[in-house]
């Protein structure tokens, strides 16, 4: 029977031989490919996470820029609208003033013209009445009237006309 503490060089040599065979076969065919695959996967995951993080940061940055741009554009639009309004108001006031001035001028001119036309018409009518009266008077006078009658008639006619 073997003792527990017997030296057994056979087993030691076989252990070395077997271990080295296992180490060589599995080292090349199993352990190294697996370690490499695990490292590759680890790197891939880390790189993917880093890329995702970078992309997220980039997106945040772009979104921030976009927001700033929108805010600026909105501000600009507001400014433009405000300026436009102001300009329009001013123009409106100017146009109104001008129109008022113009219409007032036109009215005045029209009044003056009307008065002038009326005076002219009156003067014309007056000459025509005199002519007609003279003609009528000539005819009457030629028949029966005296000089005094003529003058009185003219006077009366003129008086009536003046009243009208």
């Amino acid at each position: 029977m073997e003792n527990l503490l017997n030296f057994d060089t056979g087993l030691m040599y076989w252990t070395w031989i077997t271990f080295i065979i296992v180490l060589v076969i599995l080292g090349a065919k199993a352990w190294k490919p697996m370690i490499k695959a695990l490292e590759n996967r680890e790197n891939f995951i880390r790189e993917s996470l880093e890329e995702a993080e970078a992309a997220r940061k980039e997106a945040d940055k772009v979104a921030g820029e976009y927001e700033a741009m929108v805010a600026k554009a909105r501000q600009e639009a507001q400014n433009i609208v405000a300026t436009g309004k102001e300009t329009a108001e001013r123009m409106k006031a100017d146009i109104l003033n001008e129109a008022q001035d113009k219409s007032a001028g036109i009215l005045k001119q029209a009044e003056v013209q009307i008065v002038a036309e009326r005076d002219k018409a009156i003067a014309e009518i007056r000459t025509q009445i005199v002519d007609i009266s003279m003609a009528a008077a000539e005819k009457i006078i030629a028949k029966s009237l005296t000089l005094e009658d003529n003058e009185r008639l003219i006077e009366d006619a003129l008086k009536d006309y003046g009243k009208n």
């Binding site: 029977m1 003792n3 527990l4 017997n6 030296f7 087993l11 030691m12 077997t18 065919k29």
Partner: protein, 272 residues
Amino acid sequence: MAEHGQGTSTNIGDKIIEHVANSDVMIHFELFGVDLSITKHVIMLWIAAGLLVTVALYASRKYRSEERPIPSGFSNAFEFVVDFVRTGILIPTVGKDHVLKWGPLVLSFFFLILTMNFLGLMPIFNYINHGHGGTTATGNFNMTAALAVITFFAIIIAGIMEHGFFKHWKNMVPGDVPKAVLIILIPIEIMSMFVRPFALTMRLAANMTAGHIAMLAIFAPIFILHNIYIGIGSVALNVGITFLEIIVSIVQAYVFTLLSSVFIGQSIHPNH
């Protein structure tokens, strides 16, 4: 010696030792004057190595053919254990840059020791050599010594590869201590160089043998007292111990591997 199973209290100790010890030489074999006799533990070692190589090659087949393999089923479980050794043992001890260099050795230690520990738990190897119990090959200190010798040289080779021949030996002692302290320190460091593998040898062998001795001792009262009812208690207790032995098998494979890796790591990164 009494017949198997008919032992008395006087020779029960011998019987237990017979169960946990290696067999007699089964085939005597010498090559160039080197004794390469085949015993039961040698056969168990071969079975373990064959099983491990077959299983590992099968589990890693995708890793050889694909750039970024996605393991499934058994490969996934196998990868989990490999990654456990890689992230739990290798990276913290030898460092990330040396994993590919020292990973194969450390992984071979872990898986070969684990396979042999588990094989030792299966009570089928008494059929290899009739009359002997199902022992554990890693319970034989000749085998663990051989493994520890590999660790011993791996420590030295790791240091020399990293720092060069002379620097490695200088690294063993701190550089900034008084000369007088070196007189004490150098012998201590030289001793520790040999004590470490010796401790590895004894820890693994003793732990793997102890469980078997305990189980056999618990069975012993059945044969000493010739009482079948004691068997009920013995069997129940041994079922529990078998579960404990499964844990011990894993833990001892882990401890041997971890310490080997730690020593190799210390040689690569001398911390003093």
